[in-house]
Symmetry: C2
Subunit: 156 residues, 2 copies
């Protein structure tokens, strides 16, 4: 499926107002509400829209410390176990396979330094093959968006 200009407008509208009604969305687009809903359904089925999430103020719930952790694995055979642990650890928000220093870069969010200490020593370093971790503490977050800039991608 190839999104056209109208689909891209839908995406940019929905990006930051995921709970808007079809009527409101349709008004922005100049089409009827059923037509707008139909296009959104197609975007969902095509996997371009992956879902709708609620942004929650993590610090208000006690998760006031963010950090990035570069993890080095000893051997490729340790990978599956490591990735399974990553998936099942909710404090690990993101895990990227990277080129450069370390093998994986984790973005984590913990309850203070004690929560971070527990995550590193009792969870990460306990995993087989995790030989080295390098932690970068986040002092403050200036910007945290989720959506990419949405331009007309119909030419792709």
């Amino acid at each position: 499926m190839k999104p056209d200009a109208l689909d891209c407008k839908i995406l940019s509208e929905l990006a930051n107002k995921a709970r808007m009604t079809w009527a409101e969305l349709a008004g922005q687009l100049g089409i009827s509400p059923p037509a707008a809903a139909d296009r959104v359904r197609k975007l969902e089925e095509a996997g371009i829209i992956r879902g709708y999430v609620t942004q929650i103020d993590a610090p208000r719930l006690g998760y006031d410390l963010a950090a990035f952790i570069a993890v080095t694995l000893e051997h490729p055979r340790d990978r599956d176990g490591f990735l399974a642990a990553v998936q099942s650890t909710p404090e690990i928000l993101e895990c990227h396979h990277i080129a450069g220093d370390g093998d994986y870069l984790l973005k984590v969010r913990c309850r203070g330094t004690s929560g971070l200490e527990h995550l590193i020593t009792a969870q990460l370093k306990e995993l087989p093959g995790v030989t080295q971790t390098r932690t970068t503490i986040v002092l403050s977050t200036v910007k945290e968006a989720i959506a990419v800039p949405i331009t007309d991608a119909s030419a792709l």
Copy 2:
């Protein structure tokens, strides 16, 4: 405002299904739809719910390359200009002030290596005070969540 156990259940329900109806949410909680809607409205007003966003498959829209860029500023006086540029550059998804190597860690998403090259040379390095950048390419993303683990935070 202090969220109680029921509020936390609301947050965990809404976290990944932001478009669910009040009726559906209320059914999960065992309360009436108006009561559920009322609690959600209070969570929004308290700023605990910051908004509702649509997850979009960025690679499908051409943004197929992610990277982390550590930026070092020459002098604190360069900060305001740098942060303004960060806010107005949509390819920069996140910007964290960090303790460690470099001053700021950016998470960016570009159209291929050419997009990344343009971002680094034509945008970042053009900024006053940006003396050094260290880029880490993301080979693949294993996990990318947005929500923290939501437990009962009423004790905070």
